[in-house]
């Protein structure tokens, strides 16, 4: 099997190729985000303009042509409607033209599974941290095999919290990484810390941090915000591990690119002798290869969809995505 995967849920248009679980290529372009954030319709136009070129280069890098492709996957959701639409239409066009099976893929499942399969974890607790989502997940077989949500944010995702703070602090629109840079050499002061069982909230923390910008050194605010927010999700994940008795931790999603968060999860793993894995940044950032990898698993498990049923779902939750493999 050789499967092409297309990711277009937000600012990235990515295409990857996987052959029997091995990633052959992973190409992408990113819609340039200004201070105003992402404008969905403009990002969608950008994706449409770049689609052909990125597909071509992904095939070239893999040393293949379209005729070699035996299946195509695309991100069904969650994400921004206009952006998702471009990936969906591109995949449908390819599937129809080459008469190959098509698989709609959950975006979060892409991030998680590309990492889990790479490291070979059987039954991890996943800390999935992205822009709009922050969740503690683990497999369950109840009804069908899927990732059960043990805990999650009750308001905004941790990535969005960092983004919003970065905007208020007039940082470059490079999201979490510019907050991390500002936080270097910062000193800690108290911030609201809200964990309820395995759930957490971030708006109180964000509001407080923005307010503190007026009368504190910005680097101390950035540092304290980051330390507090990361400690919250780490604690929730630790609770889920002890509750479920699972012994593997997977850190995944865009915010998993944070060195500090990765270090913190590693310390938790060490303290309990758990195994911990965080994929290379290439797979934590949005990318097409993860969609190809999951689409290939779906194809192998007989989960292709009739083309007319291939929709998008902006709120496609990871706990409704079947993991039949």
């Amino acid at each position: 099997m050789v499967v092409l995967g297309i990711e277009s849920s937000a600012h990235t248009f990515g295409v990857g190729v996987s052959e029997n679980g091995k990633i052959l290529s992973n190409e992408k372009v990113m819609y340039p985000i200004g201070a105003g954030g992402i404008i969905p319709a403009k990002a969608a136009d950008f994706h449409a303009e770049n689609a052909n070129q990125i597909i071509k280069s992904a095939l070239a890098k893999a040393g293949l042509t379209m005729g070699d492709i035996t299946g195509v996957g695309y991100t069904r959701g969650p994400g921004l409607g206009p952006c998702l639409r471009i990936g969906q239409l591109t995949a449908k066009t390819i599937a129809a033209k080459y008469s190959i099976p098509i698989m709609p893929v959950n975006h979060a499942l892409g991030h998680i599974e590309v990492a889990r399969l790479a490291v070979g974890f059987k039954d991890p607790i996943v800390l999935y941290v992205s822009g709009g989502n922050s969740q503690i997940l683990g497999f369950t077989e109840e009804k069908f095999k899927h990732y059960h949500i043990y805990g999650e944010t009750f308001d905004i995702g941790i990535g969005n919290m960092l983004d919003s703070f970065a905007r208020e602090a007039k940082l470059n629109p490079a999201w979490g990484s510019s907050v991390a840079k500002l936080a270097e050499n910062g000193k800690y002061f108290d911030m609201p810390y809200t964990v309820k069982g395995m759930d957490f909230t971030f708006t109180g923390l964000l509001t407080n941090a923005v307010k503190c910008l007026a009368d504190h050194d910005p680097k101390d605010v950035a540092f304290s915000l980051q330390e507090t927010g990361f400690a919250m999700v780490c604690e929730a994940a630790e609770r889920a591990l002890l509750l479920t008795k699972k012994r593997e931790i997977l850190l995944s999603g865009g915010v998993a690119q944070s060195k500090r968060l990765s270090e913190m999860m590693n310390l938790i793993a060490k303290a309990h002798s758990f195994r911990m894995y965080n994929a290379p940044n290439e797979y934590n950032a949005d990318n097409g290869a993860m969609i190809a990898v999951v689409a290939e698993k779906m194809l192998d498990a007989g989960m292709q969809k009739p083309i007319e049923k291939c929709d998008i779902n902006q709120k496609y939750r990871v706990d409704s995505a079947e993991v039949r493999w």
């Binding site: 849920s9 937000a10 600012h11 985000i33 954030g37 992402i38 969650p78 921004l80 992205s130 822009g131 709009g132 989502n133 949500i149 043990y150 805990g151 999650e152 944010t153 009750f154 308001d155 995702g157 990535g159 969005n160 983004d163 629109p173 999201w175 979490g176 800690y188 108290d190 964990v195 309820k196 069982g197 395995m198 759930d199 330390e227 400690a231 780490c234 604690e235 630790e238 609770r239 591990l241 002890l242 509750l243 479920t244 008795k245 999603g253 865009g254 915010v255 998993a256 690119q257 270090e263 913190m264 310390l267 938790i268 060490k270 303290a271 950032a285 949005d286 902006q314 709120k315 939750r317």
Partner: protein, 200 residues
């Protein structure tokens, strides 16, 4: 005299000991290397203090909880319970009915638990159920906080267990209607926020 470690939770290590000849445990909220020292110390102190206070309150109102024997900065000495927690024991369904009844009793005295999962319910050798681990508990009459206790249990157990739990809770609670209604609302709140500037 503190002897061996008998258990470990997400926050604490539990050692066996005796206080004035009473079999006891020390719940030691250990330092977490992943948190920076100041935050870590703050959390451990605040939760130890809160747990002691709320355990004393629950105890005095006849809820099945261990008694507090001594309080230190990061440590509690509690009466020792002989048994295991529900996430490990995989107990009979009766235990989940008891769990519902006991949560109702706790809520009736205006305490929310904050981490009401099978990991914090201990079944002793005589079949009696005990609530432990009150570091995230609150003295509150908030319907939301109480509904969140139920939500957490719901997400941590299977369907059949939850059914028994919820039924017993509804029977025992003074305000079950309002609380269960709020639970439905919380579940309906779309928690997924559209990603604006997303990082992955």
């Amino acid at each position: 005299m503190v002897t061996g470690k008998i258990s470990e939770g997400a926050e604490a290590v539990i050692y066996e000991t005796e206080v004035l000849d009473i079999p006891a445990v020390v719940k030691d909220r250990i330092k977490k290397e992943y948190r920076i020292a100041k935050l870590d110390d703050e959390i451990r102190r605040a939760r130890t203090k809160k747990e002691a206070r709320i355990l004393a309150l629950a105890s005095s109102k006849g809820v099945n909880v261990p008694r507090v024997l001594l309080v230190e900065e990061h440590r509690l000495y509690l009466t020792k319970l002989d048994g295991g927690t529900l996430n490990v024991l995989k107990p009979s369904k009766k235990a989940f009915g008891d769990a519902g009844r006991m949560l109702a009793k706790l809520h009736n005295i205006n305490v929310s638990h904050g981490d009401y999962t099978p990991a914090n319910l201990l079944l002793d050798k005589s079949g009696r159920l005990w609530i432990i681990d009150f570091g995230l508990a609150e003295i509150t009459n908030s319907v939301e906080e109480k509904a969140l206790d139920i939500l957490l249990m719901k997400r941590s157990v299977g369907k059949a267990e939850y059914r028994d739990f919820a039924e017993a809770y509804a029977k025992g609670s003074d305000r079950s209607e309002g609380i269960l209604e709020r639970l439905g609302e919380i579940e309906r709140r779309g928690r997924y926020q559209t990603r604006t500037l997303l990082t992955g």
